[in-house]
Amino acid sequence: MTDDVLVVDSLVRRFGDLTAVDGVSFRIAPGETYGLLGPNGAGKTTTISMVAGLIAADEGTVTVAGQPMTPRTTGPKRHLGLVPQELAIYPDLTGRENLALFGRLQGLRGAALRGRVEEVLSLIGLADRAKDRSKEYSGGMKRRLNIGIGLLNRPTLLILDEPTVGVDPQSRHAILESVEALSGEGMAVLYTTHYMEEAERLCDRIGIIDSGRLQAEGTRDELVRLIGGVDTIRLGGTGDLAGAADELRRIPGVERVETERRSAVLTVKDAPALVAQVVGTAAAHGVTLADVEISRPDLESVFLHLTGKGLRD
């Protein structure tokens, strides 16, 4: 028995000769936001489809709130809220009608249904447009409605499949804030994206998936450490950079210094903590600095390191 809301164990799914998901395992605890980060075609949506009980796994198991999930089971689906990548709403129904329909299918009835629909309408900021047909909504409003439907049953586990694809920056910001708020209320969130910034901002833990396999998993810092990631400080300027290099190498935390005619690149363990000392040392050796640039390894670097390709390839 586990307290984890979602336990995914050794999932495999094949489509003919293609193995779309190949032995994927991960867990999500209550209140945790778990990101599945990978490029298009990596196996994120297929994994989610198995987690949501839409398609059967060829091998492996999915357990939601302690109950095994398969396409034939409906019990664990009561704990689940799915926000698919597509705008899975009826364009000819109003916002309120869409919510009422899916609420009914979740088992809500009567006053409880009406009350919850109004709550969600307020939550997603569509109360004043509830009577309009959803095809008349802006793209961002449709996205909000799409998310709202996933929240109707107050799910224990909310699955968001690339919810910000094709969304304007303002709506994206609103969506990310909503996810942060939901997670803060104790909801477990499974979030797929190929946007590195979103994964870094939202996710407590991240699974990097490519070619159907989970390549690595952990917090952002754990992933960076996993690839031996180090920071770099690049100094640009004039003066005796080569002479300053020896002094710079003596600073604790500086692992390597490479100089060229008008620049020096330092490999360090913690660039923000060392940058002031590095700049001071260079200046003390008569170097006139024109620019200082700090680079820290990000998930893009991790992904590149693990898979040999970029996230948006």
């Binding site: 398609i55 689906k77 009561r78 698919p84 009608e97 899916f102 049953n153």
Partner: protein, 387 residues
């Protein structure tokens, strides 16, 4: 069951909400019933005759006799009558001039000018006019004969009425001897068109509704529904019931409206409704099958209309099955329309009861079960494609 009904309710709501459906669901079927009734029904039972000329006993008598036979009679001037005839608004025009009126009053030979139109039933209407004139001439001959034997004029009517009562009038019973005439015996003006259009539009409404299934799959709504506590079986049942409800709604509307507006007789109402219910299930199964086999809403709408029209034409909804050649009549039996057409024919024309239409209902039910099972199976398979 609740989930299935919820899904079915949405299908019906979306169908009624689509404004483009308003004309095709509520207006177009009745227009076709009206057109077919006017073309094939009216001319066979009544005619339109103009009687021109001044007031006279002969003209008045002709009008009276024709109206007794349910012929519509007007009294325009002769030139106007000829123009109406040329425009096809009359079947026959008769001119009763002064000479003819006087000759009739005198009991002499009457010459009338009569012009017949080109409508298919104009010949029959011409015969109606000839019969009316013959009746008047016979009557006038009888009056003249009595007067010649000294019966005073104001007692002639009494004498003729007394003679009529004392005479055994031969009863002429007309029996249709050819099969085709027998088939349409007792059929009202709009009855044939109404049942044919009902079958055509029920099937079309269901089939064009298959586009919404494709749309739901494409939009990911199907996946979202199945991610909730809804089984695939409930979803299939909901989609099926939704389309069935659309068919029953469309058919029920045509039955009600054609009955109220055109006086169409549907025979035993519960039996006609039973045919509609089972036929709609066949249409729903076909719609589900179409919605799963095709990939786009446009293809589904186009194929739905095409298939609906072809099956309706083959099944006797456009041209009556009774005038099909034997080979085509045999081929028509592959369509549910032909079986439903025959069931309605039994109920509407021959006061058929449940046992009379049991064979047709049985075949339709078998078709419905087979198509529902096939459609359900195909939909379940297509759900995997939707993920």
């Amino acid at each position: 069951m609740r989930n299935a009904l919820t899904i079915a309710g949405v299908e019906l709501r979306l169908f009624l909400r689509d404004r483009s459906n308003l004309f095709f669901v509520f207006v177009f079927p009745l227009l076709l019933v009206l057109m077919i009734g006017l073309q094939f029904g009216e001319g066979a039972t009544t005619g339109r005759v103009a009687v021109s000329g001044g007031d006279s006993a002969l003209a008045t008598g002709i009008v009276r006799e024709l109206e007794t036979d349910d012929v519509r009679v007007s009294r325009p001037a002769w030139d106007d009558a000829l123009e109406l005839l040329a425009r096809g608004r009359l079947d026959v025009a008769v001119r009763v001039d002064d000479a003819a009126a006087t000759a009739h009053d005198d009991g002499g030979p009457v010459r009338l000018e009569m012009v017949r139109g080109s409508a298919a039933n104009a010949q029959v209407v011409e015969q109606d006019v000839r019969s009316a004139v013959d009746v008047l001439r016979a009557r006038r001959g009888q009056e003249r004969a009595l007067e010649a034997y000294g019966v005073v004029a104001d007692r002639v009517d009494d004498a003729l009425s007394q003679a009529a009562r004392a005479t055994s009038v031969p009863v002429l019973e007309v029996r249709y001897v050819d099969e085709l005439s027998k088939e349409f015996e007792g059929l009202g003006q709009f009855d044939l068109g109404a049942s044919g259009q009902l079958l055509l539009f029920v099937f079309l409404a269901c089939l064009t509704g298959s586009a919404t299934l494709i749309q739901a799959r494409r939009l990911g709504v199907v996946a979202r529904v199945l991610a909730g506590p809804v089984s695939a079986g409930q979803l299939v049942a909901g989609e099926m019931v939704g389309r069935w409800a659309i068919g029953v709604f469309q058919g029920g509307y045509i039955m009600l409206a054609s009955s109220v507006l055109f006086g169409v007789g549907w025979g035993s109402l519960w039996l006609s409704l039973l045919v509609l219910v089972i036929f709609s299930l066949v249409a729903a199964g076909t719609a589900i099958l179409l919605g799963t086999l095709l990939g786009t809403e446009g293809a589904a709408s186009g194929a739905g209309v095409g298939l609906g029209l072809v099956l309706a034409a083959l099944g006797g909804c456009m041209v009556p099955l009774e005038i099909f050649p034997d080979t085509m009549r045999a081929i028509s039996r592959i369509t549910p329309h032909a079986w439903a057409y025959e069931a309605f024919a039994d109920i509407q024309r021959r006061d058929g009861d449940f046992l009379d239409v049991l064979p047709q209902l049985g075949v339709l039910a078998a078709m419905a079960l087979a198509l529902a099972a096939l459609g359900g199976w195909a939909l379940r398979r297509s759900l995997a494609r939707a993920m």
